[in-house]
């Protein structure tokens, strides 16, 4: 947006500081639903969040009306709420000054989606889904491509001016097959989002996935239920993404530790005293916050308050070193964090969020990981996830499992599930796969906050092996 600073300055009433965060998004979706091409969808979303400081309080007003009068009215509303926060706020917001940083950052794009005609996108989805169309047990399927082009600009009363631009693509191929009274699903996984353009879609090789889905659905339809009992478990990156997300990412959010989320998303078993010394997992557990991985879905140069983002270890050799919290939460708690105060859109204030949260690779090939298991199950592609409001007792289900017997992958099993408790589980991490098993994944659907916000988070992970896990087959 041209002259955002000038426009905002002209609109502001007297105040002690301000920021304006302009966000412009363009979403596009092409979808084939069980053989029928659905109406293509485009969304253009653009607006500004003004934040005004009065004494120790800050209030915001979000508007898509960026005319002089629109901004003036928004600024007046923001100031009114800032005064309310000044009188009843739980924290002196002047302790976290508005950023003075200036710069620009953009994510990678080889072939922008805007250069890919609708017909080309549709042709790929048609080709990818062709094998599914001919597979009789399938009762419902979808092939879709969702893309987003995002531009943001943050200007502040301190002279800050940051511009960022990213593109994101999320492909999905998914089919449900019916077997008597049972329904089985197989998909590319709902977490294949990445920054970039058409090259992201090509890298996933959707056409090959179409054949693979049919072959694996056929195997699942013939497969026995996953065995039950305590046993070894080897997880593919396509399940590790959710395990990391739910039982490491969310528990480490500083705003949960500070109690902000207790009424909605929940709290955490992690306490401030644990930072710096707590054994979160085995010595094989190395977790990094890394917004610098090119192409990972939540890479950025600065967070939405203008804090410069860089790689940091959260957990090193199993010991918790720092939490996931931005400048506000760091000031409130006195604890170390990272640049992760993020917002889902111009309509929502920034809060502590994951960005890219990755498990660093170890030294084992996949064959070695499997070879170490006497009796267990291999699971891939998350299907179900649930965890308590302290982020402790979890249960996950996957689309596909394979028995492991005496170090060898065996038959396919259906409806594999496992459950456990966060601390015990991560302490049972026995081996981590090497770079050859490493995959970068990303979900566009991480939700939390009041009012609610959903935004992309990335998780890169190798395969990993756990011991003595409570595994079971669905009903």
């Amino acid at each position: 947006m041209e002259d955002l600073t000038g426009r905002v300055r002209a609109a502001l009433p007297a105040c002690d500081g301000w920021s304006a965060r302009w966000v412009s998004e363009r979403h596009e979706r092409v979808e084939i639903d069980s053989g029928i091409t659905k109406a293509p969808w485009v969304m253009e979303d653009e607006g500004v969040m003004l934040t005004v400081q009065v004494g120790s309080g800050r209030g915001y007003a979000a508007t898509a009306d960026t005319s002089p009068s629109g901004l003036r009215e928004a600024a007046t509303r923001a100031k009114g709420w800032a005064e309310h926060a000044r009188d009843a706020g739980i924290f002196d917001m002047s302790a976290t000054p508005f950023t003075a940083a200036v710069g620009s950052w953009s994510g990678p794009v080889a072939r922008p989606m805007s250069d890919v005609p609708f017909a080309e996108r549709l042709a790929l989805l048609s080709a990818a889904s062709a094998p599914i169309v001919g597979f009789a047990p399938v009762v419902q399927w979808t092939a879709n491509l969702w893309s987003r082009h995002l531009r943001t600009r943050l200007v502040t009363s301190a002279g800050g001016d940051l511009q960022q631009e990213t593109s994101m693509v999320v492909p999905l191929l998914m089919a449900f097959a019916k077997d008597g009274r049972d329904t089985l699903a197989r998909s590319t996984g709902r977490h294949n989002g990445a920054q970039g353009g058409w090259e992201v879609v090509e890298a996933l090789d959707l056409t090959a996935w179409g054949d693979r889905l049919v072959a694996e659905l056929a195997a699942l339809l013939e497969a026995p239920l996953c065995p039950s009992g305590r046993m070894g478990l080897v997880l593919a990156p396509s399940q590790m993404i959710l395990q990391i997300h739910e039982s490491i990412g969310h528990p480490l959010e500083l705003d949960r530790i500070l109690g902000d989320e207790r009424n909605f998303a929940g709290t955490t078993f992690v306490t401030p005293e644990m930072i710096g010394s707590y054994r979160y997992g085995s010595e094989h557990l190395d977790i990094t916050f890394d917004p610098s991985v090119s192409g990972e879905i939540a890479s950025y140069g600065w967070d939405d308050t203008g804090a410069s983002a860089s790689r940091a270890h959260l957990i090193r050799a199993g010991i918790l070193e720092r939490a996931l919290g931005g400048a506000e939460s760091q000031a409130r708690s006195g604890l170390p964090g990272v640049a992760c105060t993020r917002s889902a859109s111009w309509r929502r204030p920034a809060i502590d969020r994951m960005a890219n949260l990755n498990l660093e690779p170890g030294e084992h090939t996949l064959a070695a990981l499997i070879g170490q298991v006497e009796r267990g199950v291999w699971m891939e592609t998350n299907a179900s996830w649930s965890i308590d409001d302290r982020r402790d007792k979890f249960q996950f289900g996957c689309e596909l499992g394979r028995e492991i017997v005496d170090g060898e992958l065996g038959r396919v099993v259906r409806k594999p599930n496992y459950r456990g408790r966060s601390r015990d589980f991560w302490r049972s991490l026995a081996a981590v796969g090497d770079r050859s098993t490493f995959e970068v994944q990303g979900t566009p659907f991480c939700g939390k906050g009041e009012p609610s916000q959903v935004l992309p988070v990335g998780h890169a992970s190798p395969a990993a092996r756990f011991t003595d896990v409570d595994v079971f087959g669905g009903a």
């Binding site: 969808w41 253009e44 979000a62 739980i90 005609p117 207790r262 308590d388």
Partner: protein, 434 residues
């Protein structure tokens, strides 16, 4: 906002070619959000947002373009219309496209006089000295529809919703108040609930082992269970193709005969029309006596399966679910439960076996061990994994006599108008696993 939408629609329709049909939708809000923690204000502000949806239809082809209203609206909408016009020749004809053939206009405006600053001040006074955390949402939401063939539907509802909990010693009581007008008595009633729970929550925690427990699921817990079942349990497409979570109900395995479920638009909080301009009936009987009656039918399903639609969204999720009450007075629940668990709320539900209707999740907020009809003390957070065909089927013993309203608190794509009104459920067995 609605008047602005109408003027914009009038102007846009003059840009149409003779063979074109344009459907316009509007979804907007003017919302104040006050977020609380530790009995004070954590974050506070206002959001004004209005999304215009354009759907251009030509010769059985259609495409949609959404844009934010704010400035230069007609010029930007006209540009969007041109881009849709350019795209349509490459879009295949949609055999499931189904549009209204009869014009049904409607208008409903429920505009309250709400002052979010005053409500927040009143709330802060009411929870002074307590560890209260939650959210006040206040202001109007707008939904509208305009068809170039003439139909207009307008909906505005101004309301507030206070959704909060009060924590003491790591345990919480969940509270809530909502309505079209603020009344301090609403807050007083909720605080009375908190004080009644306070002593019970302060008692030592009673350890609990996994296993099957007799339980009372309070209305909030039943609402959470119905929320996850709504994902695929009530739609025509899922019923026809057999992949829904309640598919077995169509296959000779009914839910409890105590269970009658409606989609009651007239009793809910949402607009009585869908995105294509179809009118939602006041009520649709989904299940009666545990047996499926009529599914939610979107316009697309209506065309695909050649049945009448009933204004359901493309996803065929309920908007205003209503579960009929039973014969158990709320003040007799403890006595009827006898020995078991009082489950106030459930958290993070998901399917453990979608096709079997099996759901896992966790207890949340004030949940108690009950012995001899008396609350003995709070229980730890426990995971359950059980089938809807048990909890709402073979294990369901009684339903309370007064269905309670639970407005959807999530606002990912703007403020939700979804709600569930349901009673509490006394079940003979709830399977706890962790």
């Amino acid at each position: 906002m609605l008047d602005r939408f109408q003027r914009l629609a009038d102007a846009l329709f003059t840009h149409l070619e003779p063979d074109e049909r344009l459907l316009l939708g509007l979804h907007g809000e003017r919302s104040d959000f006050v977020r609380y923690n530790r009995g004070g204000v954590r974050q506070v502000g206002n959001v004004e947002s209005a999304t215009l949806e354009l759907r251009l239809v030509v010769d059985g082809r259609h495409a949609t373009h959404d844009l934010l209203l704010g400035h230069d609206d007609l010029a930007r909408a006209t540009t969007a219309l041109k881009s849709l016009r350019a795209l349509l020749p490459s879009v295949p004809q949609d055999p499931h496209l189904h549009l209204p053939t009869e014009r049904v206009d409607s208008e409903r405006r429920e505009s309250g006089d709400l002052d979010a600053h005053a409500i927040s001040a009143s709330f802060l006074e009411g929870v002074r000295g307590l560890d209260a955390v939650g959210l006040l949402t206040c202001g109007p939401v707008f939904h509208a529809f305009a068809d170039s063939t003439g139909q207009r539907n307008l909906f505005e509802r101004s309301s507030f919703h206070l959704d909060w909990s009060i924590f003491e010693g790591g345990r919480a009581t969940k509270l809530g108040a909502a309505g079209l007008a603020w009344d301090p008595a609403l807050l007083d009633a909720q605080m009375a609930r908190f004080h009644a729970n306070r002593e019970l929550l302060a008692a030592p925690e009673i350890p609990l082992e996994p296993g099957t427990w007799r339980a009372y699921l309070a209305p909030a817990a039943v609402s959470a269970l119905l929320g996850v079942l709504s994902y695929s349990g009530f739609g025509k497409r899922a019923w026809e193709r057999g992949y829904g979570c309640l598919a077995r109900a169509l296959d000779g395995e009914p839910l409890s005969p105590l269970l009658t479920i409606d989609e009651r638009t007239h009793d809910g909080l949402g607009a009585p029309f869908d995105a294509l301009g179809f009118t939602r009936p006041d009520s649709v009987r989904l299940f009666e006596g545990g047996r499926p009656v009529e599914p939610l039918v979107s316009a697309r399903s209506a065309r695909e399966f050649d049945v009448p639609g009933n204004g359901a969204s493309d996803w065929e999720h309920p908007q205003s679910l209503y579960v009929h009450g039973g014969d158990l007075p709320e003040d007799e629940v403890l006595e009827a439960l006898g020995d078991g668990l009082w489950v106030s709320d459930l958290h993070y539900l998901n399917f453990s076996d979608h096709g079997a209707g099996s759901v896992t999740g966790l207890t949340r907020f004030a949940c108690f061990r009950v012995e001899g009809g008396r609350i003995m003390g709070p229980i730890p957070v426990m995971r359950f994994d059980d089938s809807a065909f048990s909890l709402l089927g073979t294990s369901l013993e009684r339903l309370t006599d007064t269905p309670r309203l639970h407005p959807e608190t999530r606002s990912y794509d703007g403020r939700s108008s979804r709600s569930v009104r349901c009673p509490g459920a006394l079940v003979g067995g709830l399977r706890l696993t962790l």
